[in-house]
């Protein structure tokens, strides 16, 4: 104990080491948050600033159909892409966790798409979705299915974005699942097999509960990520056709840096923040019912 104190004692040292983060937090996070909250109550175009009270919010909610449209687009995208993406990542991780040879090679192959920079993958998918010469319509034609104008027909664009997001299912999220799977002790499965549990029962009653903290982590960050889709929409469709891919973050960017309505853009950013805060809080509250932490009795 006395030895440990040797390291613990001079408390200002620890503070000194975390100081870079603290300064960065104050200058680039906390300060700007308060500033943008203030800006959301102003009319600001980079030159003149004028306090307007809650007018920006009032306008967004009551006079701005594009605001509701971009929310609808983003929420629809999140509802489909997050569960699909998490299931796909989990499925791939389980596949990679099977004890067969050559898994390192497969893991690398699964991971590759997530290494492609967002701009490059957007350009690549524009070409894949090309209605006349694209890979997707060609592949569908092999099965006798007529293709679609993926990025030009507002019925299909959001679907195309979801398909594209699944290409990256083997990325960081899958790696985190894989790390979680490898942390589950074999003894659970052995005991279950002795009791005659089927594969499905093992998955349902061992894998899922043991993995629930990781699923929860991926769910929280997945939803937050889905609400911030920007680059792909900016490059592939510019929000079109007919605003079918006007993702919320794209809409904020336009208001801020193309129309220079920085007050309105700040109000939009705060609406986003509050929405995410509520979703995250609800998830934390709901997580008590399904997320299982080791060493904690489950009722």
């Amino acid at each position: 104990m006395t030895k440990r104190r040797l390291v613990d004692k001079p408390s200002y040292w620890g503070f000194l080491f975390v100081l870079p983060w603290l300064l960065g937090f104050l200058v680039f996070t906390a300060g700007p948050m308060l500033t943008s909250l203030y800006l959301s109550f102003t009319k600001y175009d980079l030159n003149t600033i004028q306090f307007v009270g809650t007018k920006n919010y009032h306008r967004l909610f009551y006079e701005e159909p594009l605001f509701w449209k971009s929310l609808q687009v983003t929420i629809t995208y999140a509802i489909f892409s997050v569960p699909l993406g998490i299931s796909a990542s989990l499925g791939l991780a389980i596949l990679l966790n099977q004890k067969v040879r050559g898994q390192r090679v497969f893991r690398t192959l699964f991971y590759l798409p997530s290494l492609v920079p967002a701009v490059a993958s957007s350009l690549l998918w524009i070409w894949i979705f090309n209605p006349d010469y694209g890979l997707l319509n060609y592949a569908l034609s092999l099965f006798g299915i007529g293709g679609a104008e993926w990025l030009m027909d507002e019925k299909y664009t959001l679907g195309a974005f979801i398909v594209m997001s699944l290409w990256g299912a083997g990325g960081g999220r899958m790696i985190i699942f894989l790390a979680g799977l490898q942390g589950i002790s074999d003894t659970y499965y052995e005991a279950a097999r002795l009791d005659g549990a089927s594969h499905w029962q093992q998955f349902r009653f061992i894998t899922i509960p043991q993995l629930s903290p990781v699923i929860f982590f991926n769910l929280i960050l997945g939803i937050i990520g889905a609400f911030q889709v920007f680059t792909t929409a900016y490059i592939m469709t510019g929000g079109g056709p007919n605003n079918a891919t006007l993702f919320y973050a794209l809409s904020i960017f336009r208001n801020a840096f193309e129309y220079f309505k920085l007050g309105k853009a700040s109000a939009m950013a705060w609406v986003l923040f509050v929405i995410l805060l509520i979703i995250t809080a609800v998830q934390f509250w709901g997580s008590k019912r399904w997320v299982y932490y080791e060493g904690e009795a489950k009722s």
């Binding site: 690398t108 920079p117 998918w125 982590f217 960050l221 923040f273």
Partner: protein, 275 residues
């Protein structure tokens, strides 16, 4: 017998691998085609002959050399800064007790959930006020402040697995705190340093939003913003657009292959498995 039982697993593994790889092969195939032959239906996979000249053509059509050098410059500095400062901060969080440590640590984790749009405009105002628009400063300087919450978190988790006895032995030998960080912890942290370095390199190499907001002059562009310009000017020349995209993709893949062994270890050991 065992091999036969593994067969279905292999079939599924290979099927998914192909699904992930086909878009790559398609890009490479398009990049090597003549501009006329790109637009063939059904598509022809193997170009005859391969048009390797698409790569130098794409490279010289726009100031690609400039863009690659700019991006390398930004990426190398930000990556170095992120690795050094995130490990310093993680050292503080993992090895010392001080007032407000837990509050700060949880605040830091909470910032991972903060959408960037909330701070984007005021941060832009700061750089504008400093006269740093159309310079690399706004893209570089923020990395010197801990290099991102997730990186600090990964580092801290790793440091916690290194026995305190090592620090104490060095301390009894009269080493300073800085020396312990530099000579004891960092040399033992290869996998996590590599992980943070690779992730940081890739994220800055890919970075689009920042350069789009801050850089105005084409000669200052990074590859990602430059590619966007390429799309505007040569969007119909699919072969060259794909060649240019491959130039953007290649460095991240090469880096990943070089660091792969350490990279995966760094994540596995960091106990991200929720416990």
């Amino acid at each position: 017998m065992k091999k036969l039982r593994d067969l279905p697993t292999y079939v599924v593994l290979i099927a998914f691998s192909s699904l992930f790889l086909v878009p790559f092969l398609w890009t490479v195939s398009t990049a090597l085609h003549d501009n006329q032959d790109v637009f063939k239906f059904p598509p022809e996979w193997i170009p005859k002959p391969p048009h390797w000249e698409n790569f130098p053509k794409a490279w010289t059509a726009l100031p690609f050399t400039n863009w690659v050098l700019n991006t390398l410059f930004i990426t190398v500095i930000t990556t170095t800064a992120a690795v050094l400062t995130s490990s310093l901060v993680a050292y503080g969080f993992s090895r010392f007790k001080f007032k407000g440590r837990n509050a700060m640590f949880y605040t830091m984790l909470a910032t991972m959930m903060l959408p960037g749009q909330v701070t984007m405009i005021p941060v832009f105002m700061i750089w504008r006020w400093l006269g740093a628009i159309d310079t690399f400063y706004p893209l570089i300087i923020p990395s010197f402040f801990g290099g991102g919450a997730f990186n600090i978190f990964l580092m801290r988790q790793f440091f916690l697995t290194i026995p305190r006895e090592f620090d104490e032995a060095a301390m009894l030998d009269g080493a300073s705190h800085f020396k312990i960080w530099w000579r004891v912890l960092l040399p033992l942290s290869g996998p996590v340093l590599a992980t943070v370095a690779v992730m940081s390199f890739i994220s800055h190499w890919d970075e689009f939003n920042g350069p789009l907001i801050y850089l105005n002059s084409p000669e200052k562009y990074t590859v990602s913003v430059g590619l966007r310009m390429f799309q505007d000017s040569y969007g119909s020349d699919m072969n060259q657009l794909m060649a240019a995209s491959l130039i953007h993709i290649l460095p991240t893949i090469v880096l990943f292959f070089c660091a792969q062994r350490y990279f995966m270890k760094g994540i596995n050991l960091s106990g991200l498995g929720g416990r």
